[in-house]
């Protein structure tokens, strides 16, 4: 789904209220989310970066240290140094994936008794971690909550690093369908909770299904499940409304998604699969960023570099120059070969990254979305200058292609 307004990534920062970075783990979503937050602040917006797993040194560099479940403002002095105008601000906050489902239960339970009954239910305790997508969904709940917060104009979020990166979109729907399903209504019926013979009263086919489940699983398990569902029923209405609101927010016009991929062929191919899936969901995807792509030093296409030993004249010239500089005793010939071999290898890496990104680039541009390659930094990105470089490549007016 192309969106004319989205062709310029910088426009997203000033027009949208939620920016979601998606992509498989290890591609640098957290760092890019931080860079986006910083850039938005520089454009005068009050931005909040919601992160799952910040690099400790990056958090330190931002002057926030250990992040918690509440927004922590980046110190004003740092923002000034980074050229953030007085009206702009940047805060960061950690998404605690473990606690938030408990919070949801606490919020929607009709009474403290019901809340405790759910939280202490054996099944709940075991499933709350495992319920596919529930943690991710809870995280998106938080995004919804913070996006409605009057203190912030823009919420930037990096999604959980998992191959189930899209579960947060499916989870509410799945949970709602589950709560609506006939089998749940059967399980919720008090007669069933009263005893295993209660379901004699119900439709024959459902009854037989349950009997089979019972034979395979053991009845005490089913009873625990029905007790859990009974306790859950009271909160399902609030939960349902909330889930609809979260979904509407994430798929609505005030939100943009950014798909992030790594440079290697495994990652770009995975991103191409994700592109299709995001479309199926109707996600407002604005563009794709290939992060950490290697670049030839002067920003041009890599030059042809001979293999070591292939071009004796070139090797001589370099060895002579090194010998003249380093003096007698320096293994100039060996050094020249090593320098050429290294440049050759690096050129191969740059070409491999470019080739790996090509099919993805075609798919992205055919959809009218923006496409950015952000070069690999030599070290970890854990200082503000590195973050700054990243931001200018990602959102710079020069199309992010080359910076002087």
């Amino acid at each position: 789904m192309s969106d004319a307004r989205a062709a310029d990534p910088a426009a997203l920062l000033s027009e949208r209220h939620v920016l979601v970075c998606v992509g498989s783990g290890g591609v640098g979503k957290t760092t890019l989310a931080a860079a986006a937050g910083l850039e938005a602040a520089r454009r005068g917006r009050r931005a909040l970066v919601l992160t799952i797993d910040p690099a400790r040194r990056l958090a330190d560099a931002l002057g926030v240290g250990a992040l918690g479940g509440d927004p922590k403002p980046i110190p004003r002095a740092l923002l000034d140094a980074l050229g953030v105008p007085p009206e702009g601000a940047l805060s960061a906050m950690m998404l605690d994936m473990k606690r938030s489902f408990d919070e949801l239960v606490a919020r929607f339970a009709e009474s403290p008794e019901v809340r405790d009954r759910i939280l202490q239910n054996r099944i709940y305790q075991h499933v709350s971690d495992a319920l596919a997508g529930s943690a991710e969904y809870s995280a998106m709940e938080k995004v919804h909550e913070m996006a409605g917060h009057p203190e912030f104009d823009l919420v930037v979020v990096d999604t959980p690093p998992s191959q189930h990166a899209l579960d947060f979109l499916e989870a509410p729907q799945r949970l709602l369908e589950f709560l609506d399903s006939r089998i749940v209504q059967l399980l919720l019926h008090p007669a069933f909770a009263a005893g295993r013979f209660g379901f004699r009263l119900f439709q024959r086919s459902a009854q037989r299904v349950l009997q089979i489940v019972e034979r395979v699983s053991g009845v005490s398990f089913l009873e625990d499940i029905s007790e859990f569902l009974l306790a859950f029923e009271g909160m399902s209405e609030g939960f349902r409304e909330r889930a609809h609101a979260v979904r509407a927010r994430l798929l609505g016009p005030e939100t943009a998604f950014l798909l992030v991929a790594g440079p290697a062929v495994e990652s770009t191919e995975h991103a191409r699969l994700m592109l299709g899936r995001l479309e199926t969901f109707g996600v407002p995807l604005a563009g794709v960023v290939v992060n950490r792509a290697r670049e030839w030093p002067d920003g041009s296409a890599p030059e042809r570099v001979p293999l070591p030993g292939q071009d004796a004249e070139a090797e001589h010239a370099l060895a002579d120059a090194l010998a003249a500089q380093e003096g007698a005793g320096f293994p100039a010939r060996e050094a020249a070969r090593a320098a050429i071999a290294t440049a050759n290898l690096y050129a191969a890496m740059v070409r491999a990254d470019e080739a790996a990104g090509e099919p993805l680039r075609e798919a992205v541009e055919a959809r009218g979305m923006f496409w950015r390659r952000v070069p690999e930094q030599a070290g970890d990105v854990h200082d503000l200058e590195a973050l700054d470089r990243l931001a200018s490549r990602l959102f710079g007016a020069n199309g992010g292609s080359r910076t002087p």
Partner: protein
């Protein structure tokens, strides 16, 4: 409850029955699983790669251009079978074995309400998947030998991976009796068997993946009854320059900018290529040592491949490096 570091590392990877490969997304988990399978087949093992998850990648790596192997599985190369364990298929098979009545199985699986229940219900996917693995491990060929000598599981990414392995224990503690409990106990015993089974974490030598790997190993030792005896550190960039010339890029950078080098990039470019690779190498080496120190485990280093991992050619290289046992010296150096 875990073994002291290295206590069970005398068992080579290829002599296990079950190797569960896990790691953060993007670490090259699937490549490692496929490379291990290839190395196993080279050593004469009958290997099964079982993929867990929605997508099937191993067959594409092992036999580029081939169709997905699916739940039925397919021999993609001599000695290497690939399958994707689809929980609904595994459930159908399991119910068939339990109920011995195909009509009843169909009744259950075609029931819309039951499918909805399953879509949302937690835990069963993991349990049925591991149950299928147990079943595969028990299978025998017509010669009376195990159908598969080595089963390599391409497990979900780290966080989900641990949940995945923990489900049998959870079921055993949550379900008081019945066939479900008995099945979970069998699976739990298989996972906990320090001879048969090992968890193989795959890491990258960068800040976040390194930290996550250290946390993973700590969590496994604390919470999950599974053996773990080495860590694979993938995509390590080699030192670009030989010993004695480690800082060659700095010397190159000092050469006069106008130095004429016919047929070569400028000295600035040569220096920049070297500087980039040297700093990546130093970063990798630093985090590799952090992983060794933080886990106390021997490291299996795998080289970075500039071409990416596209097929059997690269898998062969990774596989050879993977099964050369981690040296005692590396392990010693790691904890020193």
């Amino acid at each position: 409850m875990a073994d002291p570091a290295g206590a069970s590392s005398t068992i080579p990877l290829l002599d296990r029955r079950l190797v569960i490969v896990t790691g953060k997304g993007g670490t090259g988990k699937t490549s490692v699983a496929a490379a291990l399978a290839l190395a196993g087949a080279r050593a004469g093992r009958r290997v099964l790669v079982a993929e867990v998850g929605r997508d099937e990648h191993a067959s594409r790596l092992l036999a580029p251009g081939s169709a997905p192997a699916g739940y039925e599985g397919r021999l993609v190369r001599p000695g290497v079978t690939v399958m994707r364990i689809e929980p609904f298929d595994a459930l159908g098979e399991y119910l068939g074995l339990q109920l011995k009545l195909r009509a009843a199985v169909d009744l259950v699986l075609r029931n819309k309400a039951f499918r909805q229940l399953l879509e949302a219900a937690p835990g069963w996917r993991e349990l049925i998947t591991l149950g299928k693995v147990w079943h595969l491990e028990q299978m025998q060929g017509s010669d009376g030998r195990p159908r598969f000598d080595l089963i390599v599981i391409d497990a979900p990414a780290t966080g989900h991976g641990l949940t995945f392995l923990d489900v049998p224990r959870v079921v055993v503690s949550a379900v008081q009796s019945g066939p479900l409990r008995r099945n979970a106990q069998l699976v739990e015993a298989m996972i906990g068997d320090r001879e048969r089974t090992v968890l193989l974490p795959v890491a990258l030598a960068e800040e976040l993946p390194a930290r996550e790997t250290i946390e993973l190993v700590a969590r496994v030792r604390r919470d999950v009854g599974i053996g773990i005896d080495r860590v694979v550190v993938n995509a390590l960039v080699d030192a670009p320059f030989p010993a004695g010339l480690e800082d060659l890029d700095r010397r190159l950078a000092r050469l006069p900018a106008g130095t004429k080098l016919p047929g070569l990039p400028s000295v600035r470019t040569l220096a920049a290529c070297g500087a980039h690779l040297r700093s990546r190498h130093e970063l990798n080496a630093h985090h590799r040592d952090e992983i060794a120190r933080g886990t106390g485990l021997p490291i299996v280093p795998l080289p970075y491949l500039a071409t990416g991992v596209r097929g059997p050619e690269q898998l062969e290289r990774l596989g050879a490096a993977l099964v050369s046992e981690p040296s005692a010296q590396a392990a010693h150096g790691a904890v020193a």
